[in-house]
Point group: C3
Chain length 661, copies 3
């Protein structure tokens, strides 16, 4: 956006005296903060009484910040409507699955679909956009804050009506809905859209289609609200717009970012959960391909609220996080929050300054980040992240399917992170590619845990295979239709014909003593599984023990210059991990994946490319130090010193920037 790397913090000028604000800005400069995010909870300051707007504070502080060399990301304050909006209006509030109506005083307590909310949100957004939209120093917008972080699907009367409209748009007639959902079952059948309930209290589970569609409806509606906000802003500002999201929230990130200008996320992963941090970087880079993402919030030390706290980061870790973020494609690395809250429910949350304006335990780490940022800025700006050769399909719609159908408490995030962690540990450079993302340039695509595999994705993946790529589908992929029903013709729908197999059985493998063998490794098989008879395919993995010995759990079939590989089951345990590593390794070699290193676990390599050639960021992130083999001659891009090929070591949380010559 700006030809620089941002180092930022969330700031709440509406909560403090002017004197404190002056001190804050002074200390931001000292700390190396060059962007502040403001305004996302300040509605009652901006519109203290209904229809009376006062943006002067924000105009003023954006000016002060700019004077001090600090840019601003302005937010819309819609997660926290003022008391004049909520008081006496239970019909405007969020209603949870049990029917409980939220009260004023936390956040996300209002229903974002209520027409009055939309009207008031558009008004305040318009006012803000007019006031600061073209102000010097304003470099970006954030819509709202962490959509659907605390809530999921609202069950209020407004949403019921919107739901009926959404269904009518989707299905046209109620008979089509009945057919699509198989609603004849359990006499669920509806005579009119108005009769379709929300998935509220019921003695047993709701129809899977109802449950999943209600989630998709909710995801669409929140994205629609985001679209509306963005449209208002664009009338008055050219600054790019984002939203600070997460894989943990009840949103469809791919849909949400479609109409926004850049992608950003919040993360509070602790230092012992490295893949949970890095997966965001490898995913967010691909929501707006070619455009840097932002880390809009992360703690300089620890997350906390009245009821919990995380362990503080070890010293040095923050710097490693920041360098990894920038190297993997971030334009900004921003803290939540600048100054500790004096009141509310997040008083204990880690910050850069304490409530009384002193450096916190994280402060020295923030300074380290700033030093690193300055050191690497030039290299980063002169390069771009190299597109990976290996991709993994990511889908928040799959998350919705798994929420409806968790089998045995399966969790989409956990499954995906586990799968991702293996590629990471194997030193394979990887992209998480949204379900609808382009696949040009990939050599190897994994599509695990995707119950419904769309024709569009299938077509793109097969095109990739045509050209020589390998598409590995499964486990748990393809067994459901778009409507969250069972395919009526075969177990995995169109995939079967493409893969040249017949699915003989599908069944859950836990407790059956199932063992599968592939690539010379035998491992227990688990999860809901599909076992195949290869028709026009070759078996690549055989069930050795269990209920269906002799059938395949892994098949491959040539397609064009490439292959489609079906993985019907989940190898588990230590042997399972070995088997999967062999599988990944095998197809990576076969697909001629070269973006891969022997980096030791806990250390990462982030490859970038510029006019001057390739650069590797090698970053130790586990505090244990690590090493990687450099394939050719290089120089240290920061010091200019030559580096001989071979083993390069990095110390505890150390990073090196290696430019190949």
């Amino acid at each position: 956006m700006s030809g620089k790397l941002y180092h930022g913090a969330a700031w709440y000028p509406e909560l403090w005296e002017e004197e404190v604000l002056r001190q804050d800005i002074r200390m931001m400069k000292e700390a190396g903060i060059n962007v502040a995010r403001i305004g996302e909870f300040a509605w009652s300051t901006m519109e203290p009484k209904e229809g009376q707007f006062d943006l002067s504070l924000f105009v003023k502080v954006i000016g002060w910040l700019k004077e001090n060399g600090i840019d601003t990301v302005m937010c819309t304050p819609t997660p926290t409507p003022p008391i004049w909006y909520t008081h006496g209006h239970p019909e405007r509030m969020y209603v949870d699955r049990e029917g409980k109506v939220m009260g004023h005083g936390s956040r996300q307590h209002a229903c974002t679909n209520h027409p009055v909310f939309r009207e008031k949100a558009a008004l305040i957004t318009e006012q803000i956009a007019k006031a600061v939209g073209r102000q010097q120093g304003l470099v970006g917008w954030q819509i709202d804050n962490e959509f659907k972080a605390h809530v999921s699907e609202c069950m209020c009367a407004t949403c019921l009506g919107e739901w009926h409209g959404w269904l009518e748009k989707r299905y046209g007639t109620v008979e089509r809905l009945n057919d699509a959902w198989g609603a004849q079952i359990w006499s669920e059948r509806y005579e009119a859209f108005e009769q379709v309930p929300q998935p509220g209290p019921a003695p047993f589970l709701h129809n899977s289609s109802l449950s999943t569609m209600y989630q998709l409806f909710s995801m669409e509606k929140i994205a629609e609200f985001s679209d509306e906000q963005a449209a208002v802003i664009r009338l008055h500002s050219d600054a790019p717009i984002t939203h600070n999201s997460s894989v943990a929230f009840h949103v469809d990130n791919e849909r949400l970012f479609r109409n926004l200008d850049f992608a950003s996320f919040d993360t509070y992963a602790t230092s012992d959960n490295l893949p949970a941090y890095l997966i965001n970087c490898d995913l967010w880079r691909n929501f707006k391909r070619g455009r840097d993402y932002w880390i809009m919030e992360t703690s300089p030390s620890y997350a906390a609220s009245l009821e919990s706290y995380a362990s503080p980061h070890p010293n040095g870790y923050l710097k490693a996080e920041a360098v990894a973020a920038y190297a993997l494609g971030a334009e900004a690395f921003c803290y939540w929050l600048w100054r500790q809250q004096r009141s509310g429910c997040e008083q204990p949350h880690g910050s850069v300054l304490s409530a009384w304006g002193q450096p916190t335990v994280g402060y020295a780490n923030v300074r380290e980040v700033e030093e690193a940022r300055q050191a690497i800025e030039e290299v980063i700006l002169g390069t771009r992240p190299v597109q990976a050769e290996t991709a993994v399909t990511y889908s928040d719609r799959a998350k919705a399917f798994l929420k409806t159908e968790p089998h045995r408490k399966l969790n989409h995030r956990g499954l995906m992170t586990g799968f991702y962690e293996r590629l990471l540990a194997m030193g394979i450079h990887r992209d998480l590619v949204p379900e609808g993302g382009e696949l040009e340039g990939y050599k190897l695509l994994f599509t695990p845990f995707l119950p419904y595999v769309s024709p569009e994705l299938t077509e793109r993946a097969m095109r990739m295979a045509e050209k020589g790529g390998i598409w590995v589908v499964g486990p748990l992929s393809g067994g459901r239709t778009e409507e969250h029903t069972v395919p009526a013709d075969c177990a995995l729908g169109p995939l079967e014909a493409l893969a040249g197999v017949e699915t003989v059985f599908t069944y859950p493998m836990e407790g059956t003593g199932s063992v599968g063998q592939a690539f010379g490794v035998s491992a227990p098989l688990s999860l809901w599984s599909a076992v195949f008879r290869p028709l026009e395919a070759q078996s690549a993995g055989i069930v050795e023990q269990g209920l269906t010995p002799g059938l395949s759990f892994l098949t491959e079939r040539k397609h064009g210059k490439g292959k489609i590989v079906l993985l019907g089951s989940m190898p588990e345990g230590e042997e399972g991990d070995q088997l999967l590593r062999k599988l990944v390794d095998h197809y990576a070699r076969e697909a001629q994946v070269t973006l891969r290193t022997d980096v030791s676990p806990g250390t990462i390599v982030a490859p970038r490319r510029g006019e001057d050639g390739d650069v590797w960021f090698v970053i130790n992130m586990d505090g244990q130090g690590g090493a990687v083999t450099l394939p050719s001659k290089a120089v240290d891009a920061l010091s200019g010193a030559a580096i001989t090929p071979g083993r390069l070591e990095v110390g505890r949380y150390e990073y090196r920037v290696v430019r190949f010559t």
Copy 2:
């Protein structure tokens, strides 16, 4: 019913195209299915709009089935009223204990006591009964489906009114209720029946009488609904009527089956929980004494829903289950379900065919069942299960008492199954006899975990003792009155005088270091216990350590030619199990129980008797193989080969049919 053994499956013709139905029937024949159960969720097909009935589909498929040699059990569809019944009528819906009102879209979401529900249920039942009641092929009826499986006591306004009526009928005047419940306590006392609440939200526990009586009321009302349905059917059909129940549901099975024609149950016990399967067979045989029961639902492989799945049965187990069921008195062994659901919340559930019409992983096992069924049918039809000499009292009313008063999370089903498992492992042929069941012919009766022991049961048990039987009462039996209060004259009410003891103390034994000794075994004692001073009884077990050393926890007193034995405490742990085995063994010998074998654990012997003498079905059910000593010369009833007395071995899931000669 029919001079044959049934092998059946649940089938949902309302969900599939005619072509699929034709295929289904063809494949049922191939699989050996000779009875289909239909209709239990099909209300919206039968009465798509209120008052517009269309039974043609069901008339048609019963005909098709019959043409193919397949009989039909027709169901009433009342668990799932159509949208025209529920939409816009929250007052007709089930309300849970927290006050949550159920919505449309699952099952059992309607209150079965609402007068409009009863009216509409009677109407649809009448229509069905008229349409198919005398049709060729119809061999039985099932009322509704799994009453109170997903719900327990409804808390709606209709039920509140019915509750008041039920109380008035039970108590006559509110003062009698106040007296019976000791309602003066905590100023609970009511001035009118209309004031008696449902046991809804309260800061602490409700009066035990209120909680227990509300359960009994609910159990009575659902049985009354069953009665009403049966009465309507009988006007138009002579086919016998059942309901598919379970010990897990919130019903009084003894009361429920009183006005039905035959008993049936559903079971989804996994193969590692053998007693949970067999206890049903030994109980259901006795709800309608002399009439075979049905297993109306069991999985050919595994139970599952969107949120859970069981491990599939090992190959071979299904056959063992079926042979055990038939041998222990079943006329039918039926699957849920024939063809996998394409939609709804049970898509993953195990079935005979997949949704796309192919054999599932359970199919080969279904074929094995059919082979076995054909092999044993003649022997089964020529014999009847031999009444056991050893009985155990079973009471769903005790289940209600324990739900009100679980002590420390005690669970009636778990306690009873544990007690049952010991008899099973000891090779003792046993009947579970409902609380109100006849005791003629029994030599040894156990009555454990029955807080209230009725005068009727006492009288029958004492009559049995008079003739030489031994009645072992306890643990946890007799300490509460019919109204779920404490007896006012002594700890165990009338039992004490009959047993010739004085209960000196009652108290919980956990944590007191209590050890009891009986039959030469010392074991820790547990649970709420009664310790006795024998007056006209002999001590048979003494508290050795703990708070009350020297008192008895086990006494016996002669009565007529037999005995009444009081067991006041629960021996626990490995030694406790030993002590209880010694106890069972001792009284079994003393009562001259002969229906007992040395069969190895995991293998069962089901004795039957016919005009040609006695037959034993010896079935290995744990997959480990087993053995039993044959007391005399026999032949293999299937092959006719002679079998020498002595050790007979059976292999993994093998069964033998041994006819003594």
Copy 3:
């Protein structure tokens, strides 16, 4: 009150026939019961119909009791309003945090703030007071029963209105409230008191100030109700008034007892949880300094309800409990309950007699108590408990703060009991002193786990230090303001200047590898911690490892003749316990604490003083026996036998009364 030691029991004459009552009184005399508590749930007996009062039963039984030498404590029956009060009046009922409205039939189901409740409660109290207020035998009153034991803060509409009034009284203007709560955060800001919600359903946490203030409001309101009841009673009776409370209930005991005449508590701690029992004695002695407290309820054997039971006391333990209670300052030791309930939800609860009038398993222990009571009465009456030199600040308001902000599921009661247990095990005689209590005479004061340290407490503690005392503040003390916000000027507010330190950082230490060293012991540090730079203080404990090595977690500063010591972190584990013992020992020596013995853990010494000098009650309470060194010549106060100085042993649950000569 009466120049005797009471041995009492709760009794429910309204539940039994006259003949039973006569038997009860006869057996009370036999058992040595000399006081009965009656009436606390008998509203429907006293006022069976609204406005129709009948106290005759209670007048009669107080007379009968008196004739038999048994005094009476009369209760007001307000925890259980009759059905005429509750039926048809949901607006009068308690509403929980989820919005559930309680029904009739348990207790504490009515909102105690409803004006009609207050009116009816005053009326029945007046009637009782008039009827028995000056009757012979009446020696005391109990208001209601266990306020807020089953419920916490009511969320009904009445309470909402009262809340607004309370806020207005506290803050004057809504802007002051907004400022105090920092309510600009998250746009919570209110325009009028009427808009301030109760802390009901919300997507995430409420503002800490809202949550804590609502608790303080609720605590004040229930105390106000108690005040009202007491005022009515005092118009008609001179007998002293109490309430049976507990640290487990949602009340501010200090505030509650302010307007009552003596303090009492209920305890059902099991014998394996000795500190939980004794902490009550050492605290309740100080709610009404100089006035003996009562143990109003404890079980003779075990607590139980329909859903749980405790393990019965070992034989002998009850006597040890009673002697400890009397020795530590109790005038009465009373059971719940005399005769086992025949109905309701507490039928299984341990009692002195069974429901059928026989001695229970606890009866012999009750007789032991009576023997001990008679033996020690003269000594007890001739002495008073010696004020401790070591005090620990106790605050139920801190409990409210920790409920709002539990960090990681911290529990005020558990933290305080753990801290107390250490002093107990070290043989240090101790007082728990309510936050507002006088500190005259103390040499050493610990103030741990007190988020807000008031100026009043600070002033008293500093005055104590001035005179030579040592005030040890922390851990977790001082980090919050009176309004439950963060101090705006420094981490620990005014404490820092007083202690002569700067708090450099505050952060949670778990997971950071923090180790602190003090008094030669190194131990892991935990909990939310403050680390200091001593300014005018000396470091007494240094962080050795972790994020902030070199800073202090323990400092001391001279103040007058004494010291203020800041403890910023919680040493944990075995080493942590060692460190804390060294700390206690160090400051106890420095403060010249002499009220300390070498008594073995599980045995206690309760020192008393009379005109004839000092007496020690040495009581073994863990059933293992124990010993203490007597510093000088003594006699056995019961037998008169001489005891040589040196080691005195006591056997299992034995007690000795040692008078120093």
